[in-house]
Symmetry: C2
């Protein structure tokens, strides 16, 4: 197998459910970010089932190519936890009971007023030569091994236990091992855009990054999701990345709502409203609470978001928002007229500075002649007046709901920008 | 490297954002499920960056061990798409322009009234000897290669294009290759439980599955998420799995809300309500629309879910639901009394058969003496009366909101069960 000379890490997530059952591996994502914070690039993520043989094969393979391996999962007390055994198999080590770990497991049980089960004692088994990493918030300790120059860390699969152990023990140990300094640091900057397609974004910025086939100092990644395109610039030279980032940001202008990966449009809108002392209310139909849920995910959103109505049926639109039944009969619930009335009622009743409304057809059923799935009317009412826009969003139910909620939030953001900085 | 004799698949997802930026790889999950539907187990998922060398190394490694490899991503027209080149590097193949693909790309552009860019033409480059798989809904075709007995499929990364291609082309080709028949079929059954912890579930069922260390015919996987434990039984013998599944279900009783992986508590509640001709309304505070959003994710939920109020601030509780200001002053917004009044008001105003309310402290701020983060009062009002339960949920803001919403839905489900089958 070919060798690599730079210091790169591989991440192995253990869990049958991650391979076969459609569970996302969030641990690998967390580990990659924490390593990146120390300038170490994860170059591979591997996901293997709770199978001793498969885990052992994976460990053997990556050990030959990587200087750092982080394994998450399979250290617990239950019968599907076999990472300890797999590591011993891969590197020909014995598994031995560690008195210190056993005593602390017993102590923990005593404090909870319970007997320790024989099964829990499995967590005290340690591969010969491994260092034990204490688990501040759970039972299974972590383990550190060194095999032919590769530092291997076995961490528990419970996300917050794993994250604490990475922060408290693994990152420091990597520093001590000097594995940080020698690594080719990769610099990245990201920004997020709403109201443009992926192709529109690429066409607007591609010439800034060089031609295909050319050796490029800047790698571009574009990620599309409903009403949100993420642009990532990456390279080795901080100055080049910073320069390109400024030019990309200029080109994309007001479509840019965030300059990092973690800020959602809901947080961006919150900042824009808070800065101007404005408040928001919402009347939702096809999004069924998604807009409110997105907003209230943001800690502190209560300072600018007061209330929402989920008027999922026509009767609720009539009784809660006072929409004229005749208006619904004449134009249908999914119409510019009803969206306008919903936004105005929401603003009047709530007293909020701005109220938004969403009425659309998320599918899979509900389409009618002239009103296809994906049709949505989005209303924004403020002191200037009420504007309704018509959209035809592509995708499944989930995508259409996301498009509707995010596009509405982006409209509020743009109105804030227009109202003045 | 060791060889495996059974027919297993490896899945490689290509995308720098999947390794470094905290994007979840959903394609790998979809591919694993589709393969499982044909009795083929994915034994490894690999995630690698958009890097020709890394993709090539990954392909070389897994080709030695697996008879089927599915690669997703990196086939598009943009400069970060290098999977074609990587496959050629790994297996020493030439990349050649395919006239048929080029013509259909040109045709597609003409239909949209555009010139084809030189960049788009990259999608017509095909490794020597590869079969082209048509893309029914996008531009990048898929590619099939056979290398030393391993069937390798390169598929586009856009999720719905990839899924269509898997369904329309890959699965049939695997059948034709006879890779289905020879595989050791793994049988699994799953059920989902609410209202119990992972340890409680395990203690109640573990003796059914044999002792640790024993050779077991049944593998158990337990997955914990807020207010939802998933139990998966897996093995080679259908009869043993079916028998164990029945016994596990008996032991867990009414805590079981689903007998598959895809049904959420919101869909389970919907079925229970629909069966009894009941309707639901909600008044949410700390969950901020999450309960309504979960419910309206379910297609057809409009037949049993009518409306919700997101009363995120006290004023909204007072003005929309008519909660007495004195009640809030006396007990606080997060109290059994206010939760009770919210549920009763929601039922009265909506006319729904059942109304629920949620008032809690999701954090990170908002705690006060005697009212810690995680405290939640959940109300259920129906024709019999109103019951409020007090909970102390552990976790971060997102976990507490999920615990609150799911526990509320589970209470509605249990009330339906008690009201009669």
């Amino acid at each position: 197998m070919r060798q690599r000379d730079a210091v790169h890490a591989a991440i192995i997530a253990v869990g049958t459910e991650l391979v076969l059952d459609g569970r996302s591996d969030t641990n690998g994502v967390t580990v990659a970010r924490l390593l990146a914070s120390r300038g170490i690039d994860a170059r591979m993520r591997l996901i293997v089932p709770d199978d001793e043989e498969e885990i052992a094969l994976a460990l053997e393979d990556v050990q030959r190519r990587f200087q750092i391996i982080i394994v998450t999962g399979g250290l617990g007390p239950t019968i599907d936890d076999v990472t300890r055994e797999a590591a011993c198999k891969a590197f020909d080590l014995d598994l031995q009971e560690d008195r210190g770990v056993l005593d602390s497991l017993k102590e923990r049980c005593r404090a909870l007023g319970r007997e320790m089960s024989s099964q829990s004692a499995r967590q005290a088994m340690v591969p010969h030569g491994a260092t034990v990493l204490p688990n501040a918030s759970g039972t299974a300790p972590g383990l550190q091994l060194t095999v032919a120059g590769t530092s291997i860390f076995l961490l528990p699969g419970v996300p917050h236990e794993m994250e604490l152990m990475m922060r408290d023990h693994v990152l420091n140990r990597l520093d001590v091992l000097g594995l940080r300094a020698g690594s080719p640091r990769s610099v990245s900057r990201a920004l997020k855009v709403s109201g443009m397609t992926e192709v529109e974004v690429q066409e607007r910025i591609l010439d800034l990054l060089g031609q295909p086939g050319e050796a490029r100092a800047i790698d571009l990644t574009l990620l599309a999701s409903p009403a949100e395109i993420t642009v990532i610039l990456r390279g080795a030279r901080e100055d080049l990345i910073a320069h390109a980032f400024e030019r990309v940001r200029e080109r994309l202008g007001r479509a840019v709502f965030a300059e990092d990966l973690d800020t959602g449009i809901e947080a961006a809108v919150g900042r824009a409203l808070e800065k101007r002392g404005l408040s928001l209310a919402a009347a939702e139909s096809c999004t069924g609470g998604l807009l409110a849920e997105m907003i209230t995910r943001v800690p502190g959103s209560s300072s600018w978001f007061t209330q929402a109505w989920v008027t999922y049926c026509n009767e609720a639109k009539i009784s809660l928002l006072g929409i004229e039944p005749a208006l619904i009969v004449r134009h249908g619930a999914v119409s510019a007229e009803v969206a306008e009335a919903m936004a105005e009622a929401a603003r009047r009743i709530s007293g909020a500075s701005i109220a938004v409304s969403i009425s659309g057809i998320a599918g899979p059923s509900g389409a009618s002649p002239g009103k296809p799935i994906g049709l949505a009317y989005l209303g924004v009412a403020d002191r200037v007046g009420t504007r309704v826009t018509r959209h035809l969003f592509a995708g499944d139910r989930e995508a259409i709901r996301l498009f509707s909620a995010r596009t509405t939030l982006n409209r509020v953001r743009l109105e804030c920008l227009e109202a003045g900085e």
